[in-house]
Amino acid sequence: MDELALLKDMADETPLPLAGKLAPARARLTAAIAVQADTVGVDTLGADTVRASTAADAEAAASASGAGVATVRRRRPRRHRRRLAIFGVATVGLAAAITAVVALGPLEQVGIAPPAASAEQVLLDAAAAARAEPDVVPRPDQFVYTRTQLATGDAWETWLSVDGTRDGMKRGPDGQTWSESACQPTLPKCPSRGYDPDLPTDADGMRSYLSDESDIGITSKLAVMLLQDQYVPPASRAAVFELLAEIDGFTLVDHAVDGAGRSGIGLRRDSEWVIVGPDGASAILVFDKDTHAYLGLAAGDGTDGRRTVGEQAFVDEVGQRP
């Protein structure tokens, strides 16, 4: 008698489960994947680029001191490096803020729909939340570092000189780089400037400031672009939201509660001047569902579930990461 064969008989009555039976388990897996998808990207990026950052530091220090490559003393002064969690959420921890933005599921999914606030109300609340934030002032010789990242792992990074006097850089997801030339001090507007202390702090002032083109649609696009690469102090951010609240054409998008238990309200613009994300695709402004504090951008039209992480900080050198 073959005990292996007898054992096999014992097991043969158990069937292979069909897909339907496995569906709940699969759902648990995809939920866990979704929550982790973007933080994994952050970790991977950080680990891969530590070395690159070090090399950039070494180069920068070497060229600054005029010394050869032989011995380079790497300076990493910590006291002036401030990490801003995410646009508009300066005091919240980075991980929590990222989760809040990127753990949102497909944007059209509606659970129990909350009472629909108006786009105007959401924006005014976001302005009020921004005005309550502490101001953070960088040193003039620092750079504003901005990173936006999609769930696919593609990331864009920019380094913009705070006072515009130093060359900056932009890096794309495949490592390609573009330099951002330092500004000429004689020009009134400087796109490579990471921080403009003269940014208006009220809606009217902001409208004048942006009014190279008078069309309202372009104004709203510019307002959003302001929020991406350049650091906008809280009071000015409030002014941007207040200005946007005066503009028609935004659609509210309700979200389902995400895996982390957070929900958000999206603001989409369907007219010809759509809100544009870092990869050129359409994007949605996302606000905390309860407080309406601005969380950041979500990329995509909502049906493909791509998400954007935003991060800003002040760093000392181009190529450095916070």
Partner: protein, 192 residues
Amino acid sequence: MDQPGEEDSAIIERSLREPEQFASIFDRHAAHIQRYLARRLGQQVADDLVAETFLVAFGKRTRFDLTRSDARPWLYGIATNLVRQHHREEVREYRLRASIGPEPDQDGHADRVAAQVTAAAMQRILATALAELSDGDRDVLLLIAWEGLTYEEVATALAIPVGTVRSRLNRARRQVRAALTTPTNEEIVNYG
């Protein structure tokens, strides 16, 4: 999502940067893992633990040995670790399996009735024998007897040398054979 014919290792490697690719690993292997868990712990526990298995696997995927083209032994290993944590359920499952047999057809032909009684008795003997094996011996025996893994695959799954797989299998088979051939049991088995 995956290319047909693409190896598990390629998918897992992609999932390091694109986590959502890992769902393909579930689609390829979850059915077998669930059935294995159901055989050892019953359907209800299996439905929970198959999810746990893949959540653990997803979390550990950076440590998957990418030189291996097949992820299933690795997944069996994770599932077996989870089974270890449910020892009581496992023993209960074997007892259940042994006690619920097809009711002997009382009006049937004597030989058929005898065969049915024998089958039920067999299940009972096997169930007891399995419960009495050491954890390591039982894991090896069932991965081979129930799941059809090779010695190499079992070694990968349980992270033990092939030689250990062999010795555990031999010991387990000896013990089960001994249980089947004790005088009383032999009588039951040979009834009719």
